[in-house]
Amino acid sequence: MTFRSTQSVYADLNGQHLGRFLPDRRQLLKSASAGFGYLAMSALLANKARSEEVKPSSPPGHLAPRKPHFPAKAKRVIFLFMQGAISQMDTWEYKPELQAQDGKSGPGGGKLMASRYKFAQHGETGTWVSELHPHLAKHVDKFCWLRGLHTDTPAHPQAVIQLHTGTAIASLTRPSMGSWLLYGLGTENQDLPGYITINPPPNFGGTVNYGSAFLPAHYQGTRINDAGYLPNLEAQAPIALQRRQLDLIQSMNKDLASRPQAPSAIEGVISSYELAFRMQSKVPELLDISKEPEHIQQAYGIKDGPAGSFARQCLMARRLSEAGVRFVEICHPGWDQHNNLHRGLTNNCQAVDQPAAALLADLESRGLLEDTLVLFGSEFGRLPSAQGPDGRDHNITGYPMWLAGAGVKPGFTFGATDEVGQFAVEGKMHTNDLHATLLALMGLDHESLTYEYGGREFRLTDVAGQVAREIFA
């Protein structure tokens, strides 16, 4: 093999082509040590596919970890999004009065429908949970409940968008909450996207829900499906050959970087290639849950096919979170039980209960729950009254979510609905308040986290938002 060493290639390229701009060796070493893995090329030439000497690149400014406004209680978030609206009356909201008033007129009209599921108290907190959640019931003492949530629009499309971007107004697409977090905090692991959403709804705004809108594209969410697929992530040539090709690209880029006409973004281009190359191996590795020990897989209930989708997502979420991904969202759809309430709800809870509980246990045993915030809930809730013989309609006037982990009081309840569960009456929190609170837990002041667009400072919470400090641990 006669391929010359990197350094001589570099010097020659410059010497021949650029004459007076020949960099000296010190300068060369300096830029090499800046982490482009440049000198590592000679090692690679010895038929080494991936060099351990390739150091992680210095983080590009926009995604470098940034100090929060005030000390953060949580470093990262996992959002378990139950798209379609969970019937809280049959799962998490125990209302003796509703049970007593079955068939009677409700406060919002319609006929009340008692839950047909058995509720029991769990944990030291004695939290009531229905029989649909035997696994999650074991973790109730970790939960910090928000039971007075409300939102603006009782239609999934707008409500899903509002939950993710703070507003449901179509005329101006806003950045999603994960993008705001990334914009505010950067990301911990420069080898991975900082914001990943698995299996998000393909409708109801689709990309809007993880887009960066007018924030730069660095902050947009990366969508992967529940099989861990990400476009263009798979090297399309044998990896040793691709590394060789990449080294050629990088030598051309370095050459350009040394010229006086170099565009200012050139260093960013060079590091983006190294990141891309690392992502090719690291991301699939991270998303490959088959390497997890048997007992972990069993705990999550990993299986193939659609039935195992949520379990796989939960395990991927833990792995991504553990690796330092700032914001991970996973999704279980299909909670929209206008009819078939009982069969649908039973199925959904079965799919979600064990994996979500396993995720909490797993995070806890790894010490991750101390700085990871878990959020579980829907775009709105369902009514205590009946819809048809076996259904419940949407309720935007009072519904719960639970948080667990970093920064929140365990075994705590904030807010409440009325005695049958129709209207939020205490500790009411609008979606903007929820966002303000989440940002605060991450160390960000929702009023200061702004971005100027079209002549106005924008923020996730628009012109509203109250932080529910009551829930802070």
């Binding site: 021949q16 919002g108 409300h150 239609a155 968008i161 005329s171 060789r244 050629l248 565009p263 935007i396």
Partner: protein, 922 residues
């Protein structure tokens, strides 16, 4: 933008929900001295009755309101709110928690006619006498029905809110701002400064620039070398690289005369419109679907795209261009083709993001009006007027009344995007064939039985719909029908099928030519100011008119009986309207220098940047007007200057003084746009098809919601991936952006985008390393190089460099590449020998196959329709909210390569495409 609306609505919703009584949301004037007047505003949630004369309703007494609060509202709350209020789906589009909601009614029309209980649908429904019976569970007791009748007989009194007469008249500092802010002053007559001791400046533009440079102790760097200059101007004017022949010819004769000749050639080429038309498509937030909550296609949108491209190629005067887009349907034409152009141009007002799942028609209408106002004002005037939808503008002198003066123009306009609002709709529900602008109906003879056929089809649709509604959500609906699917699903499909058949009879898109666009409404009138921007909360009526940002004696006045769009167009484009002309010349400057004279190209307001060269900006605007608003002349003038022709060379000392290059001491390097990257890969690989496609792949889509991971989305992606057309012709359904565009900061399709981002992210690198598109065309070029006339590898390498990077490689570079190729080829051979039995499975992951006969997949451009077997996924859904969520299986396109040598060359070509040098213009 109704930022405030929302939070206040929330407040109201929450409070009403909990049964609390809400205090009046509209502030009562603080002092008694303030004049007051009650206007026609009602507040559905305000239970504090205010009585006054002068309201729209007849004189009403406090007793009326007490009657309402004590007797009527409780009935509505207890029996109707569950289905007909802002907190829920407002079934049938009707809400009874709001006066306007009752007056305007839902899908069946007005629910309440004041003083006429017999005429009021509400009364008919509660009496259970007709087909419509409400509440459905059980008839109300007679005394309650009586109360409702009495209430309507009394004139349906509803509590109202006091509104200050001063509302929305603007802040006290507006006058001063109007008089002082640079952007809104008339254009100045400026003379280019005379520069002593310099023969650098050859043009007034250069004189302006040089004067500023001198002020800052800067000097222009040297001229760009011919190759860099040619590449720069070729991309800037056409979005394509120069051909190698052009490059050689220019290098041989880089004279100014020859340069000017080349510039003229670029300006005259169709590629110019494809490049510059795209700039305007960014500004006009072009997209081929509603986006937003339910993504429904606009199959006709491509016509507007073509119109824009043609307009730039024809060098349509900019004032005319704007006038056509705002009021093309109202302005005179001299030929049939001009008439069609004018109509298609109005698509500008219609093709924005729309929330078709909106429950309330009035909100749908006002949101679309807002979207149109926002687009027009930001694109043409560089000001965000939309802020004044809810309140007087906080920064710029635009009062809420001025907003509603403009809104009246657009509420008097039908904005036609072929869609209607319908909450919880599905299938073809959103398609509104009457909301299309008909260009022509080609059917030769009217069918005498047409009327009968339509009636019959309508009848069938109505029956199918009823059947579906009957089955929906019932145990019977869940039962399996003859084909094994639930009965409700079968019913839904039948309804869809019949609806499609009806559409065939009535849809003007089937029987002729239609487009998205605008026309004057049947009802022309001024509209009310909306309190806090809430569509239902009416304030005083505001006469239609324009903004005070530009006023002059004898400015256009809106004639009675017309929407006012024609006059708006005149006002926008009149030579006296300085801001319009400043904004457009600044946009052009931005595209040619990477930074506008005003860097905030879409915002010339108080929060925007101030001009770096204010005199130059006015000079350009004046000159532009004098030259008949010719964009080609303006562009030509600029690219011929010395300023434009500067090299990109960096000078450390200057860098220190002016790091952002605000004073233009050099040319700022710029990254190619997403389109330029893709198009030049195609062009250099000799794969680019330069003709214009007839339509867009999106033109074949049914007007039915599409999900972003279903068959339609996949087909659009495949069509884009296989296409060899220029990028401006790729399908642009919102949220389903072709990957080649998505990764390189394509314009956000929901917003006016005068300046795109230029991010550098890993997904771009992954795209260039792995995307089938890049690989396929790299291999293609490699093959043609290897099969071509070059005698040896050295000349092939030179060829590749010139083709892709527009320059000769150095000797060292050639040597490096020769070594690279030989090592790569050797290793590829070893790899292939050690993987002899590559099954097709592994081929997919490591697609280095030796198939001597196979050629790279160069399938022709997608014909722009759905491949066979593709069905519309949303069509069969009983409940549109239950859309399938999982992804379709991913199939990676396989690129087969005939041998290791081609693989090596392909990897070299790809490396050149992937290099930063390819991506950045000097």
């Amino acid at each position: 933008m109704s930022f405030y609306t929302k939070c206040l609505t929330v407040l109201a919703v929450g409070m009403a929900a909990s049964g609390e009584h809400l205090q009046a949301q509209v502030k009562t004037p603080a002092t008694a001295e303030e004049s007051r007047q009650v206007v026609s505003a009602q507040n559905s949630l305000n239970t504090r009755s205010v009585v006054d004369s002068g309201s729209l309703q007849d004189s009403q007494l406090p007793a009326d309101f007490e009657f309402f609060e004590k007797k009527v509202r409780p009935i509505l709350v207890a029996n109707c709110y569950t289905c007909h209020s802002a907190d829920n789906k407002a079934a049938g589009g009707l809400r009874v928690d709001d006066y306007q909601g009752l007056r305007n009614g839902g899908n069946r029309g007005s629910a309440v006619v004041p003083h006429q209980p017999e005429e009021s649908l509400l009364v008919q429904a509660v009496r259970y006498t007709g087909k419509l019976k409400m509440p459905p569970e059980e008839k109300l007791p007679d005394e309650k029905i009586q109360i409702l009748e009495d209430w309507i007989r009394r004139g349906a009194p509803w509590p109202r809110v006091e509104v200050s007469q001063e509302i929305g008249k603007g802040s006290s500092d507006y006058q001063e701002l109007l008089a002082s802010h640079w952007a809104w002053q008339p254009l100045k007559n400026v003379t280019p400064p005379v520069i002593q001791d310099s023969n650098w400046a050859t043009d007034p533009i250069d004189q302006f620039v040089l004067a500023r440079l001198n002020n800052h102790n800067l000097s222009p760097v040297g001229d760009a070398d011919p190759a860099s200059l040619l590449r720069r101007v070729a991309f800037d004017l056409t979005g394509l690289p120069p051909s190698d022949d052009q490059l050689r010819a220019f290098e041989a004769n880089p004279s100014s005369e020859n340069y000017a000749k080349i510039v003229d050639g670029y300006l005259a080429s169709p590629a110019f419109g494809e490049k510059w038309g795209r700039h305007w498509l960014d500004v006009s937030r072009f997209g081929e679907s509603t986006g937003s909550a339910r993504n429904v296609p606009y199959p006709q949108a491509y016509k507007y795209r073509n119109y824009v491209i043609d307009a730039f190629n024809k060098d349509k005067p900019f004032d005319r261009f704007i006038a056509e887009q705002v009021a093309g349907d109202l302005i005179p034409y001299s030929s049939e083709s001009e008439r069609i152009e004018n109509l298609v141009a109005t698509g500008f007002l219609a093709l924005g993001v729309k929330d078709v799942n909106q429950r309330f028609k009035v909100r749908f209408v006002m949101d679309n009006v807002d979207e149109a106002i926002d687009t027009v004002t930001r694109s043409v005037l560089g000001v965000t007027v939309s802020c004044a939808r809810c309140h007087d503008h906080k920064f710029d002198p635009v009062s809420q009344r001025e907003y509603y003066a403009l809104a009246g123009i657009f509420t008097s306009t039908d904005i036609l995007a072929g869609v209607r609002n319908k909450m919880g709709g599905g299938g073809l529900d959103y398609y509104d064939t009457s909301a299309l602008l008909v260009i022509s109906q080609t059917k030769a003879e009217p069918d005498p039985e047409q009327h009968q056929k339509v009636e019959k089809a309508q009848q069938a649709v109505a029956e199918a719909r009823e059947e579906f509604e009957r089955l929906r959500g019932t145990p019977e609906g869940q039962e399996k029908g003859p084909n094994g699917r639930p009965r409700q699903q079968i019913a839904r499909q039948k309804w869809n099928r019949l609806q499609a058949e009806l559409n065939l009879l009535t849809d003007p898109a089937h029987s002729g030519e239609v487009t998205l666009g605008a026309r004057d409404s049947k009802q022309i009138s001024d509209t009310e100011l909306r309190l806090r921007g809430e569509a239902e909360q009416l304030g005083p009526v505001v006469p239609r008119g324009f903004l005070k940002l530009a006023t002059w004696e004898g400015q256009p006045q809106i004639a009675a009986g017309q929407s006012g769009r024609a006059e708006l167009a005149q006002w926008l484009t009149a030579p006296q309207n300085a801001i319009t002309h400043r904004v457009i010349v600044n946009r052009v400057w931005h595209h040619l220098f990477g930074r506008g004279i005003v860097s905030t190209v879409d915002n010339f307001g108080l929060t925007g940047d101030t001009p770096s060269h204010p005199e130059l900006l006015d000079y350009l605007a004046q000159d532009f007007i004098q030259n008949g608003s010719s964009l080609k002349k303006l562009i030509r003038k600029i690219v011929l200057t010395k300023t434009y022709r500067l090299s990109t060379e960096n000078v450390a000392a200057y860098q220190e003084i002016d790091p952002a290059n605000r004073w233009i001491w050099r040319h700022t390097p710029r990254r190619l746009t997403a389109e330029e990257i893709r198009d030049s890969i195609l062009a250099t690989a000799q794969s680019l098809e330069t003709s214009r496609p007839e339509k867009s792949p999106a033109a074949e889509l049914k007007v039915i919601e599409i999900r972003n991971n279903g068959p339609e989305a996949r087909n659009l992606q495949v069509a884009a991936e296989n296409s060899t057309l220029r990028s401006v012709y790729l399908p642009l359904v919102r949220g389903i952006l072709p990957r080649a565009l998505e990764v390189f900061d394509f314009a956000e399709q929901g917003m006016v985008t005068g300046a795109r981002d230029q991010t550098t992210v890993a997904t771009q690198s992954l795209y260039l390393l792995n995307d089938p598109f890049v690989r396929q065309h790299s291999v293609r070029l490699a093959q043609s190089l290897l099969d071509g006339e070059d005698h040896d590898d050295r000349s092939r390498i030179v060829h590749a460099y010139r083709q892709i990077l527009g320059r000769d490689p150095s000797v060292t570079e050639v040597n490096t590449i020769i070594d690279y190729l030989s090592v790569y080829e050797k290793e590829a051979n070893i790899y292939l020998t050690s993987h002899p039995g590559e099954s097709s499975e592994t081929v997919a992951t490591t697609p280095l196959t030796t198939d001597a006969n196979s050629k790279p997949d160069d399938s022709p451009a997608a014909p722009g329709n759905n491949p066979p077997g593709a069905s519309n996924s949303a069509l069969a859904l009983a409940n549109a909210d239950e859309m399938e969520q999982s992804d379709l299986p991913v199939t990676m396109k396989k690129i087969s390569i005939r041998d290791a040598r081609t693989a090596a060359w392909g990897s070299l070509i790809q490396a050149l495409y992937a290099s930063a040098e390819f991506r950045y213009l000097k």
